[in-house]
């Protein structure tokens, strides 16, 4: 079953057309990695998947809901789509626990005890049980990102979007975060991951999408895309990053 269906997606910022004609599909439990040069539209594409960017044209269907439809209850669809940002975007005025429980309590009307119990379980999963009562300012980058993942997971999303989740991290922190993501993938989470970590894409990805200039230039299973790229632009990009 397809969890994400993107048909002829277009996105412009004013006169600048950033996504030109994107067609893509992500199946349930699939892990799709998106790679490509800076400015190629990877983040914009990802942000169209939960409508953080207003969509200019085409259709984006998330788990059966067409989010380009004006009448769609976007806040409900967003509950099914977790997002993890490069800059973490934790809420600095709230403790780690409050960061994680806020949305389940306010949006899903869960009881405080239920939300807290769930949050503590998630913190254990990401290896940060002892940080429940810390503030984000007291955490390292890698710890922040793992809290951000736990926060997104607390809503029981069906899909997780990651936008370069390890790009702002010190090298020694990257491994912990990738490990959590890998575990998530193994548990069957549907994931779209914009990343510069080619090792992760190769190892964890079911499929890799290469974007350039607002188009999907090429997509394939990792060992094919990395081992036997078909397009010149893919070859040129890979020769620079591998």
């Amino acid at each position: 079953m397809s969890m994400i269906q993107v048909n002829n997606l277009k996105k412009s910022f004013g006169d600048l057309e950033v996504l030109k004609d994107i067609n893509a599909e992500v199946k349930e439990q699939e892990v799709v990695c998106v790679i490509g040069p800076s400015g190629s539209g990877k983040s914009t594409f990802l942000r169209c998947l939960n409508r953080l960017e207003e969509i200019t044209g085409g259709h984006v269907i998330i788990n059966g809901h067409d989010i380009t439809d004006k009448n769609v209850k976007i806040n409900q669809v967003r509950q099914e789509v977790g997002m993890v940002f490069q800059q973490f975007n934790l809420f600095p005025h709230k403790t780690v626990l409050e960061n994680i429980t806020l949305s389940p309590i306010k949006v899903k009307s869960q009881s405080k005890t239920a939300a807290k119990e769930k949050a503590l379980g998630l913190l254990e999963k990401v290896g940060l049980s002892e940080k429940a009562n810390s503030y984000p300012g007291e955490l390292s980058g890698g710890q922040k990102q793992r809290v951000a993942i736990a926060r997104a997971l607390a809503m029981d999303p069906k899909i997780m979007l990651f936008d370069e989740p390890t790009s702002a991290l010190d090298p020694e922190m990257v491994g912990d975060v990738l490990e959590v993501m890998k575990q998530l993938a193994q548990e069957g989470m549907t994931m779209v991951v914009v990343t510069h970590e080619m090792g992760f894409a190769r190892e964890v990805g079911d499929r890799v999408i290469f974007m350039d200039g607002g188009f999907i230039v090429e997509e394939n299973v990792p060992h094919e895309l990395f081992g036997n790229p078909q397009h010149e632009r893919t070859k040129a990009f890979l020769s620079k990053v591998l």
């Binding site: 953080l52 509950q79 899903k108 503030y135 997104a152």
Partner: protein
């Protein structure tokens, strides 16, 4: 010294009125400021215009003129009747509201866009995002500017003596007329204002430090 000690209970009675007007006006002013700040940031053009007009009108006119307009001007209309205390509270509230609107707007705009994006991605509505994520952070950042405006508004209340509100300043005038000791009386009045404002600053400092810890 005797003159001051004898006048003190009477002056402190006036201080009560000053604080009463100040506190109510500040609370109303804060609500006005918040609403006007949200209007200015709203996607609806009419709301932007209303807020901009209000803020410009208040900032572009003297406090005394606003006071006279509300107390004498509006009261001269058939269907309006306000006592001096009400008119005083309304004037201080509206005046503070216009300045607070700009302070609150700047506070909201200073919060990183990523905060709202994270909140919205979790399914929070625009209103919930404002309430739980943006405003609490913005208010912390605004605290120094808010304290500043509070002090200005407190001092503005002394102008309300002109329309006959028996505040600290007005009672100072009465005492002066009764004792013929202007130096001592105005010195005492000044000290009382100073102490109140000093306490206000200490309170604000304390709050700032408490929030600083995060």
């Amino acid at each position: 010294m005797d003159t001051i000690i004898e006048a003190l209970p009477y002056l402190l009675e006036g201080l009560k009125t000053t604080l009463y007007v100040f506190i109510i006006a500040l609370i109303i002013g804060f609500i006005i400021g918040l609403v006007m700040a949200l209007f200015r940031l709203a996607p609806l053009k009419i709301l932007n215009w209303i807020a901009t007009f209000f803020i410009d009108a208040i900032r572009g006119t003297p406090f005394i003129v606003q006071l006279f307009f509300i107390y004498f001007g509006l009261n001269s209309l058939e269907w309006v009747s306000m006592d001096s205390i009400t008119a005083g509270i309304v004037t201080v509230a509206i005046n503070a509201g216009a300045y607070l609107a700009e302070i609150i707007r700047a506070g909201i705009m200073s919060i990183d866009k990523g905060q709202s994006e994270a909140a919205r991605s979790l399914g929070l509505s625009g209103g919930q995002n404002m309430r739980y994520i943006v405003l609490p952070q913005a208010f912390r950042r605004m605290l120094p500017a808010f304290t500043n405006q509070s002090i200005i508004s407190l001092k503005d209340t002394s102008l309300l003596s002109i329309i006959g509100i028996a505040d600290l300043t007005q009672r100072g005038e009465v005492q002066m007329a009764a004792t013929f000791e202007p130096f001592k009386i105005w010195f005492a009045v000044g000290i009382i204002y100073f102490i109140v404002i000093y306490i206000l600053s200490i309170l604000a400092n304390y709050m700032e430090r408490r929030f600083e810890l995060r």
